[in-house]
Amino acid sequence: MAKETITVAAAMVKALEKENIKHIFGYPGAAICPFFDELLRSEIKSILVRHEVNGGHSAGAYARITGKPAVCIATSGPGATNLITAIASAHMDSIPIVAITGQVVSGLVGRDAFQEADITGACEPFVKHSFLVKNADSIGEVIKKAFYIAGTGRPGPVLIDVPMDIQKQEIEFEYPESVEIRSYKPSFTGNKLQIKKAAEALKKSSKPLICAGGGVIAAGAGNELKTLSEMCDIPVISTMMGIGAISTSHKSYFGMLGVFGVRTAKLALKECDLLIALGARMSDRSVTDSSVFDGTTVIHIDVDPAEIGKNAPVNIPIVGDVKRITEQFTEELAPMRHEEWQAALRRSKQANAEKAAEELRGRNGSYVNPKSFIKALCGVLPSKCVICSDVGSNQIWAANNVELTDEGRFITSGGMGTMGYALPAAVGAKTADGSAEVVALCGDGSFQMCFMELATAVQHNINVKVVVFVNNYLGMVRELQDNNYGGRRTMVDLSGSPDYLKIAEAYGIGGETVTSDHQAESAVKRMAESVKPYLLQVMVDSNERSLLE
């Protein structure tokens, strides 16, 4: 391709086309207008969100579905600062997004001009890397590097800030074919000696356990995990980000660990003699007391060397691509059985299921039980579905009750715990893959942080389904106050909230209210059959808890 003389804005659009970008999520403003003006001439579809943060979340979910960096755009100043929470959320959960912001004209940078914000400075703690474009000729190299950095190694957000005058400047442009960054060489293949060592340790173990984290999903290593678990008969638990790495109905899957996890997963972690932490950073939410590792051989496999030894002790670290290493590891191993160990965990799982069923029988029947509702929902949805969960009690209900096959996905804000995530995430996920059934599960608190995105769904014909669990409380904080603050409830009563069906109706979205368990299945069926967005307002007992004990 020969060089052509075009504006930087046009070059930015060409670069995105070269990166095979099909959609962008954005919100305009003066400082990004030259770019949007050029985007008109492209096949790339622009989706106008109703708040910049939601554009960031949509791009994040889009990236999680496609496995490739996705793009969100905002203008300078408040547009850019509104993006920060989405960038920080993507950073915590290792999601590859490329955020592009307009900046005030170069000559005004640093003078507190109208809608000026030092966004590269403000985002520094939350990005994998960022660029403030000062030299118009560098735009191609900058965008190429941004996509490369965002999508390789441990994925993460990259920010590109482009002053408006630079966007208008004409340059000789040719998009680079390749990129070379001497200071950035992520490891891919795992160290062979370490892998041999890990295999030897596993052979000696009688109670091995795999903890699957978000890294398994990010690396697309679901099949490799399944092969390893089945061949060596190893039970699997997951972190919240790892839910769906293996089918939740797999006989060797025992649920989510951590503060809000299930008993069997906690028991497994406590009892195991060897732990394979697979793309899991073992955060404070997952492991509250590091004494569970006493006497356990820990094999930590992660693409990011900085995660190894940060939160959990490690005996055998292996750095590289989780998919590749799991393959290498499996090659070193022969089939083995751990029948007693698996049986013990299955007994625990069974006992807990019976206990839960018992609790369910004795409950108040004039409300919907959110846990059985989620099970009913998953029973109706096609196997190719994406459950986007929000944050709060609803997230825990979803995490512990969602049922997914190998094709299903669970998308939530794990590390940051960002409320208002589910609906924009559903918009992004559905845009990325129209063939999947996509449902946002929200609490009434979190829904009120993002429901303006119903307009985005309607405007762009994005067929997302929304469930709002209504209990008129910020339930998780209320639970915390009940348990740790002598029951002094404050700032958690959501009185004054609207009728969510009417909200949906105002956007031209149909729906219905579900008030008891027996209505759940038929309501979910009607929702799933709808070819347009649909909202279920699910009335939940305000005393419903998220903690299991």
Binding site: E124, K128, H129, S183, P305, A306, K310
Partner: protein, 163 residues
């Protein structure tokens, strides 16, 4: 424990902010920081003296390595460390005191960089303990102003930190 960390970085705008920001937000204490360009104008060398236990040091090194602009990180072992700091001291100095100060400069191998009717500015490059000692020797004359650079460090012997 005090560690001396040498970092080779791309000489890009904002790189120092990224490094100092990293130390601040992860709670690593910086004792001193010095930065200058190397023989390759595209590469700068940062020397940071920081406090922390082994866990902290390991995290500092790993987190630094994650910054895209960071090319190489090396913590120099204390017994292989050649450290230098530069100090400029302006002291009160009457005509009668000049000889005394000149002899202090000679003994300590300091340089007299500036002189006026009632003051003298001395310059010394040495390791930290020597600079402390130097400062004490000058204190009785009345220190008007002191300025010190951060520590720069290089490994002794033929081993070198290069790209």
């Amino acid at each position: 424990m005090k560690h001396t960390i040498s970092i080779l970085v791309e000489n890009n705008a904002g790189v120092l902010a990224r490094i100092s920001g990293l130390f601040a937000r992860r709670g690593f204490n910086i004792h001193s920081l010095a930065v200058g360009v190397t023989d390759d104008e595209k590469v700068s060398r940062v020397t940071i003296v920081a406090n922390g236990d082994d866990y902290t040091l390991e995290q500092i090194e790993k987190q630094l390595n994650k910054l895209i602009d960071v090319i190489k990180v090396r913590t120099v072992k204390p017994d292989e460390l050649l450290e230098r700091e530069l100090i400029l001291v302006k002291v009160n100095c009457t005509a009668q005191q000049r000889h005394e100060l000149i002899s202090i400069a000679k003994i300590t191998q300091a340089k007299i960089s500036d002189i006026s009717v009632d003051s003298m500015t001395l310059e010394l490059s040495d390791n930290q303990p020597q600079l402390e000692n130097f400062q004490e020797l000058l204190r009785p004359y009345g220190i008007k102003e002191i300025v010190r650079t951060g520590t720069i460090a290089i490994q002794t012997g033929s081993a070198s930190l290069r790209i």
